[in-house]
Every structure is written in C-alpha cells, then in structure tokens.
Amino acid sequence: MHCDVCHENEATVFLTQIVNGKMQKVNLCESCSKAKGVADPTGFALADLLLGLGAAQQVEEGTPEPVRCPQCGFTQTDFKKTGRLGCAACYETFAEGLESLLKAMHKGMRHTGKVPVRLQRALELGSKVETLKADLEKAVQQENYESAAELRDRIRQIEEEIHS
C-alpha cells in the first residue's frame, strides 16, 4: 500500500480517526508522517489536515477494491451513508474499523449481560477449553506426558460437543 501523500513510498503509518461518527483512514510513509508531524494525531481532522479539506472523502474513494461483507455484500461506504450495518457478519468483516467506533460509543468492549440459553453452554465449554489448553501446555513443559494425553483427549471431546 502506498503513502497517501507522496504516492511513492510504502505506507508504514496507518491512522484511523472517527469524526462525527464516521471513520477516516490515512496511510503514510515514514518520511511523510514525520514531515507532517504526526506524532499525536488526536484532536484534529486527520485526513483534512494532512491532505487538504475534503481529502478524507477522496482517500476512501481512491481505494481500488472496497471490502465487501461476504454474507450480505455491504461495504464501508454504505456504512458511511447510513450509519447502520448490513448483517450480523458485518461485525466480523469490518471488525477493525468498528473497534474504535465501539470504544468511543460504549462503556466497555465486552458484553457482560444476558446470553441466549442455547449459547450459554457453548460459551461455558469454550472457556473450559481455554483453561484445559493452558493446563496442557504446562503439562507438556513439565514433560508430564501422561496427563498431557488425558488433557488432549478431554479437549477433543469438548470441542466435538461444541461443534455438534
């Protein structure tokens, strides 16, 4: 990916900013980022400042292939227009950009409320697998192969249950 300012060097500095709930992205090479003094990009309209007013729009449009949600065909431009996503899978497709938006909007980044009953079991099993995997690693490190084999079988068993 090339630098949005000199259009020559490889971009190594990637900046994302949310302005009025809309996402702006600017990619810069090292020398341009230094020339523009981008050490602390907070508190100003990034793309506009670096590339002139209205540039944020162009940067977006200049991207050759917009990312499309594989499930519903939604793009980031559609989100810019409506402020709404296309489907549940969009949360994965646009996870990177949504991260900072969600951070700005909410109290935390992890859901701690109600969970559908049928997913509760899967979530519980999921965290159990995490614990067992940590135990397995420890067992391998301690060369305790007997219990490692036991743990491996249990993990396999639970994972099968999750996927069934």
Binding site: C72, G83, C87, A88, H111, G113, K114, V117, L123
Partner: protein, 371 residues
C-alpha cells in the same frame, strides 16, 4: 383481535399511581434482536424482509404473552391507525413509515409490543405506568427468553447481541423513563439537569424520542450505552439518576411555592382559564397547559379525583386520537376546535384552583414585580 379494537380502550400504563409515580409517567424497556443469517431490515431487499417476517411473526404470535393480543402488518394499517400507535408509544415513528414486510404485535394489556422489521428484525418493548424499571425488565426478559428458543439470534461471544446500529450492540437494551418535570422547567433548571445527565452517559429526549421536542414538560431519560455493562447494571445506574432528578423536581416545586408563589399560581390559574374557556386550541398549547393542571393536582390545588381525567386528556388531545374518536379525518382548524371541546367537556366540573393553601407573601420572600 384487531389493533383498532385494542386501541379503542385506554392503555393500562395510563393509570395514575402514587408519589414518585406522579412525576414518573411511564417506564419502558426495549430490546433489539436480529436473526443470525438474514440481512438487517435497512439493507435487506423486500423479498428478504418478507421472508424474515414470515419466520418471526408466527413465533411472536405464538407467545403466551401475546394470547388474545393483536397482530397487524404495517401495510394493512391506515396512516391514522399508525399515528394512533405512535401516540401510544406502541410503535416508533420510524416503524410507522414502514409498509409491506413489517408488522407489530401487541398484547391485550398494551403493555408489551413487538415490532418486526423496524431498524432491527425485532424490537420488543415492555411499557409500565410509573417507576417500574425492574418489573418492565422482568417482563421483556421473559418474552425474549421465550423467543430465543424459537429463533436463531445473532449473538457474538464478545460483543453480545448484534444490532443494525453499533450504538445498540451488547445488551440491545434501551431503558427509558418518561418524567413530568414542570418544576424544573418553571425554575429554569431543566437545561442544567439535561446537561448533567448527558455528561454521565444518559440521554434526555422529548415526548416521542430521539430528535423530538419536549412538550407538556414531559422528558424521556434513557441509557445511551449498551455494551460493557449488564442489563441490571444499566437499570441501576438509570434508576439512581432518575431518583436524583425526582428529588430535584420536588425541590424545584417547593422552591417555587416558597419563593415565587405568585408566578406559580398565575401560570396554573391561566392554564385553568384557557383550558376551561378555549374554543380552539393546538395540541402543543394543550399539552403545555394540561401539564400545569397536572402540577396543580400534585400541589393540591385541584381535587385528586380529577387526576385520571386530566391524564387521559394528554392522550385524547393528540391529533390522531382526536380524529380516531371522531371517526373522520379532520383539518387542523377542525381538530383544534374539537380538542377545545373535549377539554372543556372533561374539565366542566373542575373547580378553580384552591389557592387558599398557597398565599403569596405569607412569610415568603417578596417577589420582584417585573416578573
């Protein structure tokens, strides 16, 4: 049952309550839910929306809570019927703009309404009179749990319930309390309160939600954020803030009585004069003056038995309710005349404010005369 039969009856949540419930009109909790494998309504094509409706509607209609309730496609409702539902807070203004592929299901008591294909596939709400956030949550939680057994919800292990707008993701819950705050308005403290509430991540809105004007001194206070806190945590935070607002409102009323009784009695007396003698009145003016009569009842200036009638007028004088009751579409001037007639009828036996209990200059600091 047809929705129009249901809305011919008073909504259960209009019933008057005690002390705090004189200030808090209603408590409402809505949950946003979506199906895992279908595009959100705003992005879906019409055929997809219809397919989603066909999946969801039988599940909703089959709920125990919806037994003997009403279910109607938005395409089958007239503009007037939709407006009646908006005025009753049974559907949102956004939902009223929908047609084929959207529906609303309301239980018999009109305390639970479920919108299908609004901004999300499902928007379900529980509505209760007075300050009853916990009870409203219990009720809608039950409905939601019954539905999740039949429908495959979009749920993310880290982000919770996935919604069309990222501002609803997580719990998908918006809890809001509608409060009647004439004291804070008359005391010029309402903007301070609104700013303070906004600062701690709660929103204050007008009568019909986002972007609407505050009429009749009615304000909706609701949570702004949905991710990072559990439902009970959000409700507790909201409840605490409501408690503080109620305290400020009571304090503002005491303050008005003690320091500016003439101004207060003047406002209530004028409201009484206009409402009992007007022959034409617009809905906004009616709401604002009815709010002052309601304050008068809270302060003991009018007999308590008139409370129910005055509360009912808040709803009856809304444009769509007026037209529905007169069974015809009316021009604005006709509505204003009919509204004035309804109000005069309801208030015919209402005596003038009993100002004996509140005497200006009775030990209170002297008021400035240029008020």
């Amino acid at each position: 049952m047809k929705l129009s039969d249901l809305t011919g009856q008073a909504g259960g949540w209009l019933e008057a309550g005690d002390s705090d419930n004189r200030i808090v009109i209603t408590s409402r909790i809505r949950l946003a839910r979506n199906l895992r494998d279908e595009p959100f309504p705003g992005w879906a094509k019409k055929a997809e929306r219809v397919r989603v409706l066909d999946r969801i509607r039988p599940a909703v209609e089959g709920l125990a809570e919806m037994k003997d309730g009403a279910s109607e496609g938005l395409a089958d409702l007239s503009a007037l019927d939709k407006q009646v539902l908006v005025e009753r807070h049974l559907i949102s203004r956004e939902h009223a703009a929908k047609g084929a592929g959207s529906a609303v299901v309301v239980n018999r008591k009109q305390s639970v309404s479920i919108m299908i294909n609004e901004e999300d596939h499902l928007r379900m709400q529980a509505l209760r009179p007075g300050l009853q956030l916990a009870a409203a949550w219990k009720q809608i939680d039950k409905v939601d749990t019954a539905l999740e057994a039949k429908l495959d919800y979009a749920f993310h292990p880290r982000l919770g319930y996935l919604t069309a707008c990222p501002s609803n993701v997580g719990t998908g819950m918006r809890a809001s309390v509608m409060a009647h705050l004439p004291g804070l308005v008359l005391n010029d403290q309402i903007n301070q309160v609104i700013q303070a509430v906004n600062k701690i991540g709660l929103a204050v809105r007008g009568l019909y939600g986002e972007g609407t004007e505050a009429m009749g001194n009615l304000f909706q206070v609701s949570n702004q954020t949905t991710l990072g806190e559990s439902e009970p945590e959000i409700l507790e935070r909201l409840g605490k803030v409501i408690g503080m607002i109620l305290q400020h409102e009571r304090h503002a009323r005491e303050n008005l009585l003690a320091r500016r009784p003439t101004a207060l009695l003047d406002q209530i007396g004028r409201a009484y004069g206009v409402l009992t003698h007007a022959w034409s009145i617009a809905s906004k003016e009616a709401l604002n003056l009815l709010s002052l009569l309601r304050l008068g009842i809270d302060l003991g200036l009018f007999p308590e038995p008139f409370r129910t009638g005055i509360d009912a007028l808040f709803m009856e004088t809304q444009p769509a309710h007026l037209q529905k009751a007169s069974r015809q579409k009316l021009a604005a001037e006709e509505r204003d005349a009919l509204r004035a007639e309804r109000i005069r009828g309801r208030l015919k036996a209402l005596p003038p404010p009993a100002t004996g209990s509140v005497t200006p200059g009775n030990g209170a600091p002297k008021e400035s005369t240029d008020e």
